[in-house]
Each structure stands twice: as structure tokens, then as C-alpha cells.
């Protein structure tokens, strides 16, 4: 089995920030942009998901391009 490229682990960050961060965010009673902190925290995590997944996608493409470049069989690069 091939190893998971390290940059793919980035994808786990937003989810972990939600699952592990909510217990702490729940204790903060500030307002962010008028919203309760817990809600603002979650909105931040959702936005981060979008950004992180775009980055993972970009890195995956670069990874694939490099693999294809290294390939000894030129027909696979197409």
C-alpha cells in the first residue's frame, strides 16, 4: 500500500478544531461580529474547511504532476 502524502493530513485540521474545539469555545462568552463566540468559532471552522480543502487539492495536483513527470512510461503522463 502506498503511503499517504503528508499534506493530506491537513484535511483533518478543521474537523478536529470543531470536534475538539467546541468544548472550549462553549465557555467563551464574547461576541464576534455580533454573533455568540461558539457560533463564530463554527463559522470560522467552516470557512477554514473550504480553504484547507482547496490547498489539499492544489498540493494533490502538484503531487500527481510530479509523479507523472517521474514516470518512465510517457503514455501515463497524458
Amino acid at each position: 500500500m502506498r503511503r499517504v502524502p503528508p499534506h493530506r493530513w491537513l484535511a483533518a485540521i478543521p474537523g478536529l478544531l470543531i470536534l475538539l474545539g467546541v468544548p472550549f469555545a462553549n465557555r467563551v462568552h464574547a461576541r464576534v461580529l455580533g454573533m455568540p463566540f461558539l457560533l463564530a468559532w463554527i463559522v470560522g471552522c467552516v470557512l477554514l474547511t473550504s480553504i484547507v480543502m482547496a490547498i489539499v487539492d492544489r498540493l494533490d495536483e502538484r503531487h500527481a504532476a510530479r509523479d507523472a513527470g517521474r514516470s518512465t512510461r510517457p503514455e501515463r503522463a497524458a
Binding site: R8, A11, A12, P14, G15, I18, L19, V22, P23, N26, R27, H29, R31, L33, G34, M35, P36, L38, L39, I42, V43, C45, V46, L47, T49, S50, I51, V52, M53, A54, V56, D57, D60
Partner: protein, 485 residues
């Protein structure tokens, strides 16, 4: 007929017309009827998936929970984002396998992977068990929309009957192409309505978000954070986990992944779809704005809060447009669910018992089952007193039980045995049925246990039991298979 109801009726007729137009000039077989061929591009798949994901649940249930429960409603915003980051890795694998083997349904995937038709029947039945509460909540929502916008002229039971008739007619004339076109209209309308309401109401009534949340915090202390018991942090985290793992375990969501043109679509969606998710925020704002304006809606009444506050703020004509967006939001996924459930019962359950049945016979049975499934849903809708959000959570409790077996099937040789997979799923589903029919909770069974454990979502508890049984039975049956050979 008041203007609101007239607007809604007009939109209903329009959606029927779109359904008929989409069908013209095509001959439909079961494959087209259920997955619309395999030619949809990125934009269409995006809309199709969004159309299935954004439902009455979001519109009425999301605002209803913000109104009635406060912070626990925020879970709705979380699980989609996590599910999309999982989908980036999961859906391309499913898509590749399904395309290579010409699969149509979710059950086909399990049958092929585990080489077990019996498992396929079980997966199908679990899928249908999950779809029924999902359909019931669409009907509940449609009933609420029709009766509320009639300003008291139409009672809820009558409204439910009108709604199911519309849904059945819509499904029968349109198939999946109708849904795709109506999904375009629906997505634009729901976006405009949800964002419009969520921005207008807090500013109109409170002068902004900050003042609104301050007023709520003052009137209901603790409402904007998770409580120490009940829907606590532990409930929240386990519910987010359950729903994000179950997100693509719905038979229609799973099979709609087959309709993509390439796996590129999923990778792009994983970064685009979470943004779409933020529409939910405005639905929450609407529910929160209603708290101090239309107070006193308790229990299932909380689901009315969006329409009640809209009626207070707008003329009947505008209420009609809001109701029409809600109508499409129930019609698109409602038709998908109804179609999925009937197709699954015909193709994956009936055919397993009558393998010689012709394609035409199966197609005919699928259509004939549409009104049958619809009647079951009406019966449950009229007899159960459940809110919209708990109905969807019940559906998730069922479908998420498929997740462990799916993940273990992904390597080229499944890590679980068919017997292990079936035993695990049956254990999980039996746990759900037992707890939901007897209304037993962990907190009641073990009152002395800490609330961190007893507040866990029962679906997660069932899934843990599922995994334990799956592993044990797989190990036992694998050994026996090895000995026999």
C-alpha cells in the same frame, strides 16, 4: 384564495410544467429514471447534490431549533463541513468502483464488494428505514407551509394530504430530470429568501445582530451556549460525528455520487460546498429573530417560527414567495427520497426474491410503490408528534450504521466478512429501534453515570456496538472460512 396561497399554487404548477418539459422527447428506463444517465457536468452535480442536501430540514427545522433550543442547533452548521472533507477522499474511491462495475444503487456497491446479495437486501432495508423519517419531515414541512400560508383556511391534516398528492404527481411525471431543473430554481430562491430573511429581520426588529443576541441573552440566560446536561458538549460532539459520517450513507446521496462526470468534481466540491453551507447561518438568524417577536411556540410548534415571524413582518404576497421557496425545498428532496425508496424496494429487495423479473416489471413495480411509500409516510406524519430536527437525526441513526461496513469494504479485499458486516448492521439498527420505540435513554438506564457518557447521541452508542459485533463475528467467520479451505 389569499395571495400567499395563490403564489404557492402557481409555483407548484410551474414545477409540474418543468418536470413535463424535462421528460419530453426522452424514453425513460429505470437507469435514467433513477440516476439520469451519467452525463451531468460539475454545475449540475453541484446543484443536484445541493438540492438533496438543502431541505425543509434546513429551512423550517434549522430555524425552529434555533428558536426552540438555541446553541444545540449550531450542530447543523458543523457536520456538512466535516463530511465534505471526508468526501474528498471517499467519493472518488466509490465513484471509480461504481463506474467500473456499472453500479446503480448503494446496495449494488455492498453486494459487489462483499459478494453477498443478502447484505444488499439488508443495506436496502436500512436505507429505506432512514429515508422514511426523512420523507416524513418533508411532509411535515410542506404541511406547515400550506396550512400557515392559508392563514388558517386549511388545517394541517388536509395540508399534508394536499402535499403528498403534489409530491406523488411530481415524481410520476418528472423523474430525475425534473428534479434537476427545479433544483436550479429552488437553489436560487432558497438562497434569496434565507439570506434576505436572515439579514432583514435582525436589523428590522433589533437594529443588528449584536443587539439581537444581547436581547436574547438577557431574556434567556445560557440559551446561546450548550447546557451542562442534556444537549451538552458531549451530545453536540457525538451528534456532529454521527451526522458527518452518515452524510453520504443516505442511499440517494451515495448513488448521486455515481452521476458525476469525473472524480475531479468531488475534489472541487470539497472546497466549494462548505461555503454554501453558510446559508444555514441566515436561517439561524431568522429563528433567533423570532424568539422575542413570536414568543410562546413550544415543542413541535417551534418549527412554525420562520413562517410566523414572516407573516408578522411581510404582506401575504411576500409570505407566498417565502412559502414557495419552502415548497420547492421540500418538493425536490421529497421527490428524490420517494423515488429512491421505491426504486430500492423494487430493484434491490423485490428483485433479490424474484431474480427472473424483467426490467419492465421492476420499473413498473418501482412506480407502483411510489404511492404506497407515500401513504406510509402520511400515516407516520399524521400520527407522530416529532419535531423536524429529531426526525432527521433518527434517519441518521439508521443510515450511519452502514458506515463501518462501507469503510472496511474499500480495500481491494474487504476487511470484514459478509456475516460480520450483517451482524454489525443488525446490532446497530436493533439498538436504534429499541431505544426509539421504548423511548429509553442512557441517562435513564444509568442515572449514576457521568453526563459526558449518558448525553452521547444514541446513534454513536449503537455504532460502537455495531463495530464490536462486526469485528468479533468477522474474526470468527474468517477463521472458519480459513479452516474449511
Amino acid at each position: 384564495m389569499n395571495p400567499a396561497l395563490a403564489v404557492i399554487a402557481l409555483f407548484l404548477v410551474l414545477s409540474f410544467a418543468l418536470g413535463l418539459l424535462a421528460r419530453r422527447g426522452r424514453t425513460m428506463n429505470l437507469e435514467q429514471w433513477s440516476v439520469g444517465g451519467r452525463g451531468f457536468g460539475a454545475v449540475f452535480v453541484f446543484l443536484l447534490m445541493a438540492g438533496e442536501i438543502y431541505t425543509t430540514f434546513t429551512f423550517l427545522g434549522g430555524s425552529g431549533w434555533a428558536y426552540g433550543r438555541g446553541a444545540p442547533a449550531f450542530y447543523i452548521l458543523c457536520y456538512g463541513a466535516i463530511a465534505y472533507s471526508i468526501s474528498y477522499f471517499l467519493l472518488p474511491v466509490i465513484w471509480r468502483y461504481a463506474t467500473a462495475h456499472q453500479l446503480h444503487s448503494q446496495a449494488d456497491f455492498f453486494v459487489r464488494k462483499y459478494d453477498s446479495p443478502a447484505l444488499g437486501v439488508l443495506v436496502s432495508l436500512v436505507g429505506v428505514a432512514g429515508l422514511i423519517p426523512y420523507l416524513v419531515l418533508q411532509l411535515k414541512g410542506l404541511g406547515i407551509i400550506v396550512s400557515e400560508t392559508s392563514y388558517g383556511a386549511i388545517s394541517v391534516p388536509v395540508a399534508v394530504w394536499i402535499s403528498i398528492t403534489a409530491l406523488v404527481v411530481y415524481v410520476i411525471i418528472s423523474g430525475v430530470h425534473g428534479s434537476a431543473w427545479t433544483a436550479v430554481a429552488k437553489d436560487i430562491m432558497i438562497l434569496a429568501v434565507a439570506v434576505g430573511l436572515g439579514l432583514y429581520l435582525p436589523w428590522h426588529y433589533y437594529g443588528g445582530l449584536g443587539p439581537m443576541f444581547d436581547a436574547i441573552a438577557k431574556a434567556k440566560p445560557g440559551f446561546l451556549s450548550l447546557p451542562a446536561k442534556g444537549m451538552s458538549v458531549s451530545w453536540f460532539v457525538s451528534t456532529v460525528l454521527l451526522t458527518s459520517l452518515g452524510f453520504y450513507m443516505w442511499p440517494h446521496a451515495f448513488a448521486s455520487a455515481y452521476t458525476a462526470k469525473s472524480e475531479r468534481v468531488f475534489r472541487k466540491n470539497a472546497s466549494v460546498m462548505p461555503l454554501y453551507q453558510l446559508v444555514l447561518l441566515f436561517v439561524f438568524f431568522t429563528g433567533f429573530a423570532a424568539i422575542l417577536r413570536v414568543p410562546g411556540l413550544t415543542g413541535t410548534q417551534a418549527d412554525l417560527s420562520l413562517l410566523k415571524v414572516s407573516k408578522l413582518a411581510f404582506s401575504p404576497l411576500v409570505v407566498g414567495l417565502i412559502g414557495a421557496a419552502g415548497l420547492l425545498t421540500a418538493l425536490v428532496p421529497g421527490s428524490m427520497i420517494l423515488m429512491s425508496a421505491s426504486t430500492i424496494l423494487a430493484k434491490n429487495v423485490y428483485r433479490s426474491f424474484a431474480p427472473s423479473a424483467s426490467e419492465r416489471a421492476i420499473s413498473w413495480i418501482a412506480r407502483a410503490l411510489v404511492p404506497v411509500v407515500a401513504l406510509v409516510a402520511v400515516w407516520i406524519t399524521l400520527s407522530s408528534g416529532e419535531e423536524i430536527v429529531p426526525l432527521l437525526l433518527l434517519g441518521y441513526n439508521f443510515v450511519t450504521q452502514l458506515f463501518p461496513s462501507l469503510i472496511l469494504s474499500l480495500p481491494s479485499r474487504p476487511l470484514a466478512t459478509p456475516a460480520g458486516s450483517m451482524a454489525g448492521i443488525v446490532t446497530g439498527v436493533a439498538t436504534i429501534l429499541w431505544t426509539s420505540l421504548s423511548k429509553i435513554t442512557l441517562a435513564r438506564l444509568f442515572p449514576q453515570w457521568p453526563s459526558v457518557i449518558t448525553d452521547l447521541n444514541v446513534g454513536i452508542v449503537a455504532m460502537i456496538a455495531n463495530i464490536v459485533v462486526l469485528v468479533v463475528v468477522s474474526l470468527m467467520t474468517r477463521k472458519r472460512a480459513a479452516e474449511a479451505s
